[in-house]
């Protein structure tokens, strides 16, 4: 075989092309990685991992459910108890749409070492639904007509309280005073004075109180704490949170059941401390629309956003709150507002500063809500050095006028329009400089409710933590102190709306600054 020069050229001609392409690819990838690593090192953010929770050993924890409405049912599912009706409905939904994974997620949920032993609901149909669905041959669920009987029955170690707001504190206090662990839905209390009484009960009791802000279990919020502590955003002067809903369900116009009658509902018990009025199905099923039983946007939904941020920033109770709003989109007889703007002032608060000492201090927390528009406004933390969008996924953009990143911005290594960090619990690694692609996938909501690749319900994690603490001790992530902050801040928002004036907090005395002639509790409970 003889090779001419032409043969060799034609034979080996591909090699230099191969070398060139390989070199270009490798050089590009490596230099991008290096830039990424440099930025990541500078940011030094530690993505958090799911925290280890000690298992509930020994006998199962005996749990009683008080209130089996919409939220009560959800909480029971998070505990591992789904009604027959729900299972059938989800099975049907999964058949119709293979992407419908709620049944699968429920079945994949870890089993907790608990036993649902008791139910208390003033509405017969709901109580019977619990007994019918959750009783087994060897363990019958017992119904109690009142929560006092359930707490003193010796049949429960812990209770889950998912009632209208005006019942939260009385029930939680009674449980704690009797050594029964309590998980109470938000808002923790309905009035200011109750908040102090519940705090006292919780401090005196050996039983564990958990307030139902399940988002404290979200991985991204724990990572967000690290981001803020490390000064990645610089001094945060404004936080913007929002509620945007535009449907009946979102406006608390829940389904009214035909079976509900004065015979099937213990109306007097439902009313409790609320003004005595004749039986009213509308009030029973849609109680969130009246101050007598609910707490409006400030107690119902602001509390979620406030606690999300208090979990990340630990800013505590604001020194003052001003609120405005009205009933602008649902004039249906309700007396709670459906559009609400709450401004909370934290003049002494700081997340650290990259500028001259003393230049930056103070923060405003804005909660803006409407039940008449569903456009998704994200939660945003605005700092001198960066902006963070906080959700299940985190995204951070450098600020174009940042002091901290001035060098990196000038050299083009950072760009104000390109996120420098994006955290996604669903992805295996944090993406330093995220591409349009990963941005898109993340925005689609595909990646962020996963822990180790599995979709996990944060309510389940929250309940599991509480139940584990009842058996093993330890600190719950939303206990009485967090609940106290939440309740007082929410009540300040509600009071400011109702009084049309600024409500102030005296941190030294731990009291609201009194206003002459005004009884704060009376105002909160009044129909306007």
């Amino acid at each position: 075989m003889k090779w001419t020069r032409r043969d060799v050229l034609k034979g080996l001609g591909g090699i230099p092309i191969l070398g060139a392409v390989w070199w270009a690819g490798a050089a590009n990838a490596v230099s991008k990685n290096r830039e990424r690593t440099a930025i990541l090192e500078q940011l030094n953010i530690q993505p958090s991992l799911p925290s280890a929770v000690k298992a509930i050993e020994g006998e199962p924890v005996r749990v009683g459910i008080i209130g089996f409405g919409i939220r009560g049912e959800q909480l029971c599912r998070a505990l591992g108890y789904a009604t027959k009706e729900w299972l059938e409905e989800m099975e049907q939904a999964a058949k119709e749409d293979p992407n419908h994974s709620r049944l699968k997620d429920f079945l994949n949920q870890d089993k907790l070492n608990i036993k649902l032993t008791a139910v208390c609901d003033v509405y017969d149909v709901r109580a019977e639904r619990v007994i019918d669905s959750f009783s087994t041959d060897d363990a019958q669920v017992v119904r109690f007509k009142t929560y006092q009987e359930m707490i003193r029955s010796g049949k429960v170690d812990a209770v889950v309280i998912a009632t209208p707001d005006h019942w939260h504190a009385p029930m939680a206090i009674d449980a704690l005073e009797n050594g029964i662990h309590a998980y109470v839905e938000k808002p923790m209390t309905h009035t200011v004075s109750e908040t102090y009484r519940l705090r006292e009960a919780a401090e005196k009791s050996k039983a564990v109180l958990m307030v139902g802000h399940q988002h404290r279990q979200t991985m991204s919020f724990q990572t967000a704490q690290d981001i803020v502590t490390k000064g990645v955003l610089g001094h945060v002067s404004l936080v913007q949170t929002n509620t945007n809903r535009n449907d009946d369900n979102g406006a608390w116009n829940y389904h009214i059941e035909d079976e509900a009658t004065p015979q099937t509902i213990d109306w007097d018990q439902f009313l409790g401390s609320a003004p005595k009025i004749p039986f009213n199905k509308n009030h029973f099923f849609r109680w969130r629309k009246w101050w007598a039983y609910g707490s409006g946007l400030s107690g119902d939904l602001l509390t979620h956003d406030y606690d999300r941020l208090n979990c990340v920033l630990k800013m505590g109770i604001p020194s003052s709150v001003t609120t405005s709003g009205g009933i602008y989109t649902h004039n249906d007889g309700r007396n709670v507002p459906d559009v609400l703007q709450v401004n909370m002032e934290f003049p002494e608060f700081s997340t650290g500063s990259s500028q001259a000492k003393g230049k930056e201090k103070g923060m405003t927390f804005v909660y803006s809500a409407t039940l008449g528009n569903g456009f998704n406004r994200p939660t945003i933390l605005m700092g001198h050095d960066g902006t963070m969008e906080l959700g299940n996924r985190l995204t951070i953009w450098p600020d174009s006028r940042s002091t901290k990143y001035a060098g990196l911005l000038e050299s083009g290594k950072m760009n104000p329009s390109i996120p420098v960090y994006s955290y996604d619990p669903g992805a295996s690694v944090p993406d330093a400089v995220s591409s349009a692609t990963s941005q898109y996938f993340a925005d689609k909501g595909l990646m962020w409710t996963y822990i180790n690749g599995a979709r996990v319900d944060s309510t389940f994690l929250h309940l599991r933590e509480w139940l584990s603490c009842t058996r093993n001790g330890g600190k719950v992530s939303c206990g009485i102190n967090e609940g106290f902050d939440e309740a007082i801040s929410a009540h300040m928002g509600g009071l400011s709306y109702k009084l049309g004036r600024k409500i102030e907090w005296d941190a030294a005395t731990q009291r609201l600054v009194p206003i002459e002639g005004i009884d704060f509790d009376e105002v909160l409970l009044s129909s306007m």
């Binding site: 043969d7 034979g11 191969l18 490798a26 990838a29 992805a427 996938f441």
Partner: protein, 164 residues
């Protein structure tokens, strides 16, 4: 004479096509190989169309690790065989398989929402066109004109040229 010239031109066009496709595949493979954080998770997890369940299954552990490795290996195999002009038929088959999977994960069907596309497509997209081009490479191997095959199978070259 005209016939020979046409064959000569076709031969060169296919060599060019092969080099361009090889270039594209190799670069895609190398970029992934040198980026330790690269993963096909996003592409697979957003899969649509009739084979969606299959791709979703691949997107899970431990399959995803294998899928990532096999993906860059296959990309580089196609790239190397096409650029060097050796085993290009095998390379073309691997390329066809790979592109078919890419297409099926995100088919350009009008009733599906097109994810991350830079153009407008109706059933046919660039993956499918590149797949067809690989089919041409498979049917007209050109390694004996430009590539290592030229050195190793020198005798065969003459006969093949005549039959083309």
């Amino acid at each position: 004479m005209t016939e020979t010239k046409r064959k000569w031109q076709l031969k060169h066009s296919i060599v060019l096509l092969r080099v361009l496709i090889g270039w594209h595949f190799l670069y895609e493979g190398v970029i992934k190989l040198y980026n330790p954080d690269w993963t096909s998770f996003g592409y697979l997890a957003t899969a649509q169309g009739p084979l969606e369940p299959l791709f979703l299954a691949i997107a899970k552990e431990p399959m995803i690790g294998w899928a990532d490795t096999l993906n860059w290996l296959a990309l580089m195999f196609v790239g190397i065989t096409f650029l060097l002009g050796i085993f290009e038929k095998k390379g073309a088959l691997v390329g066809i398989l790979l592109l078919a999977l890419y297409y099926l994960a995100h088919p350009a069907f009008p009733w599906l929402q097109q994810v991350n596309v830079e153009g407008s497509y109706w059933f046919i997209n660039k993956n499918l066109i590149e797949l067809a081009a690989c089919l041409v490479i498979y049917q007209f191997p050109t390694g004996q004109y430009f590539g290592l095959t030229n050195l190793f199978n020198k005798d065969k070259e003459q006969t093949k040229t005549e039959t083309l």
